[in-house]
C-alpha cells in the first residue's frame, strides 16, 4: 500500500518524537528559569522574563524558526570566517530544538509561575520553621505540590508542542512531514502519505492525552473533588 515507504516514514516519526522530547526538555528548563525570574525580587530579572514571554506570545513559531535557522547560519558563517576554520552547516534539528524549546519555555514559565503561587504560603513557612534550607523547602515541599497544579497546563502545552514539530519540515529537517512530502511526490499519492502522517500524529497525541490523564490522577491523590 505504501510502496515500501512505511519504514522510512516510521523512521521520520521517531525523529519527530525525538525532536519533541528534546524540545520539551529544553522548554522545561527554560520554563523553570523563566518562572523563577518572574517571581524573583530583582526587578531587572522580572523585566527580562516579561520581555521573554511577551515576545514569544507575539511572534509566530515559524517566523522565529526561520530567524534562528537562517540568521543563525549567517552568524555561524561569520564566526567560522573570523576564526578561519572550515564551513559549518547549522543543523535543522538543532535550530528546531532551540526554537521550539525557547517558545514553549515561555508558555511553561507562565504555567510554573501560576503553579508556584498556588502552593499555600503556610506550607513553605512550616518548612522554614522546621529549619529546612531554602533548597530543601523547594525540593521537598514546593516542587512536589507545585507539580499537581502545573500538570494540566504542561499537558496542554506538550500537545501543542508535539504538533508544532511539523513546521520544522519547512526548514528541511527530514521529519515525517518532510518524508511524506517526498514519498507523495515520488509515488504521486500525496493524500495517502499525508493521511498516514495525520494517523501517526493522532496516535501520539491520543496516547499523550491518555497518559497525562493518568498522571494527573496520580498527582491529585488525596485531593478531594466535589461530586457533580
Amino acid at each position: 500500500m505504501f510502496q515500501g515507504y512505511l519504514p522510512t516514514i516510521l523512521g521520520g516519526a521517531a525523529l519527530t518524537l525525538q525532536l519533541a522530547l528534546l524540545s520539551l526538555l529544553f522548554a522545561l528548563v527554560a520554563g523553570l528559569a523563566g518562572a523563577s525570574a518572574k517571581l524573583s525580587k530583582s526587578a531587572p530579572l522580572r523585566w527580562l522574563a516579561t520581555v521573554y514571554t511577551t515576545v514569544v506570545r507575539g511572534v509566530p513559531d515559524l517566523v522565529m524558526m526561520l530567524l534562528v535557522f537562517y540568521g543563525g547560519q549567517m552568524l555561524v558563517n561569520q564566526l567560522t570566517e573570523y576564526l578561519d576554520v572550515g564551513y559549518f552547516d547549522l543543523n535543522p534539528m538543532v535550530a528546531g530544538v532551540l526554537t521550539i524549546g525557547f517558545i514553549f519555555g515561555a508558555y511553561f514559565a507562565e504555567t510554573f509561575r501560576g503553579a508556584f503561587l498556588a502552593v499555600p504560603a503556610g506550607q513553605l513557612e512550616a518548612g522554614a520553621a522546621y529549619g529546612m534550607t531554602r533548597w530543601q523547602v523547594f525540593v521537598r515541599i514546593l516542587f512536589p505540590q507545585m507539580l499537581r497544579h502545573a500538570l494540566p497546563g504542561l499537558g496542554n502545552n506538550w500537545l501543542v508542542l508535539l504538533k508544532s514539530t511539523a513546521i520544522v519540515s519547512m526548514i528541511g529537517l527530514s521529519d515525517m512531514t518532510w518524508l511524506a512530502d517526498q514519498a507523495g511526490r515520488t509515488t504521486r499519492e500525496p493524500f495517502l502519505f499525508y493521511l498516514l502522517v495525520c494517523a501517526l500524529y493522532l496516535t501520539m497525541t491520543t496516547a499523550s492525552s491518555w497518559l497525562l490523564g493518568r498522571l494527573e490522577k496520580r498527582y491529585s491523590v488525596g485531593v478531594r473533588t466535589a461530586e457533580l
Binding site: 507575539g58 519540515s169 493522532l202
Partner: protein, 240 residues
Amino acid sequence: MDIAVVTGSLDQYLGGLWLTTHLVTLSCAIGLAAAVPLAVARVSRNPVVHGPVAAYTWFFRGTPMLVQLLLIYYGLGQFQWMQAQWEAGNPFWLLFREPYFCALLAFALNTGAYTTEIIAGSMRNVPHGEIEAAKAVGMSRFVMLRRILLPSALRRAIPAYSNEVILMLQGSSIASAVTLVDITGAARNVYSKHFAPFEAFIFAGLIYMVLTFALVGLFKLAERRWLAHLESQRVTQAAH
C-alpha cells in the same frame, strides 16, 4: 542591520499584512459560525449527534494544521475523479487548486474544531441554576438554548476564544507553505532577495507582535463589555 532592506520592501510587507489579515478574519468568522451549532451538537446526549462532531474535533485538534493544509492542497490532486473535474473545468472543484481557498478551508476547519470544544466546554459550565430557572418558567429546549444557554456560554467563552484567535494569527504563518505571500511569505521573499535574515524576519515578527497586541486590546474591550457582570466575582476569586 540594514534598515534599507525593510524600507525598500514595505510594499511587499503591506501586501502580506493584507493577506494575513483577511485570511485570519475570514477563517475565524467561518470557524466561529460553524462552531456554535457544532458545540450544541457536541453537548447533546445522543451519540449519533455528538459522535461525528467529537470525531471531527479529535482529528483537527490532534494533527498539525500544516499537515491539514498540505493534505488539502497537495493531497487532493491524487484522486482521478478530482483531476477529471479539473479538466472538465468544474468551477467548484477548481477552487481546490487555489492556494488561497485551500488555506482558508484548512484554517476554518482547524479553528472551527478548537472553537467548538471551547464553546462546548463553556456550555457545560453554565451554572445549573440558570438552566433550572429557564425550565421552571416553562421555556422549551430551543428557547432555553437561544435565550439562556448560548448567551451565557458565549460570554464566558470570550477569554479562551481570544487565545484561539491569537493562535490562529500565529498559525496562519504556515500559509507560505502553499506559495501564498502572507507576512511570513513576504519576509521569506525579502530574505532570499537580499540575504538579510535578521532584517527580514525581525520586521515580520514586529508586525505580528503589533497585530497580537491589537487583538489582546480588542478582546479586553469585549470582555469589559460582555463579561462586566462577572467582574466582581473575578475580583473576589483573585483575592483568595
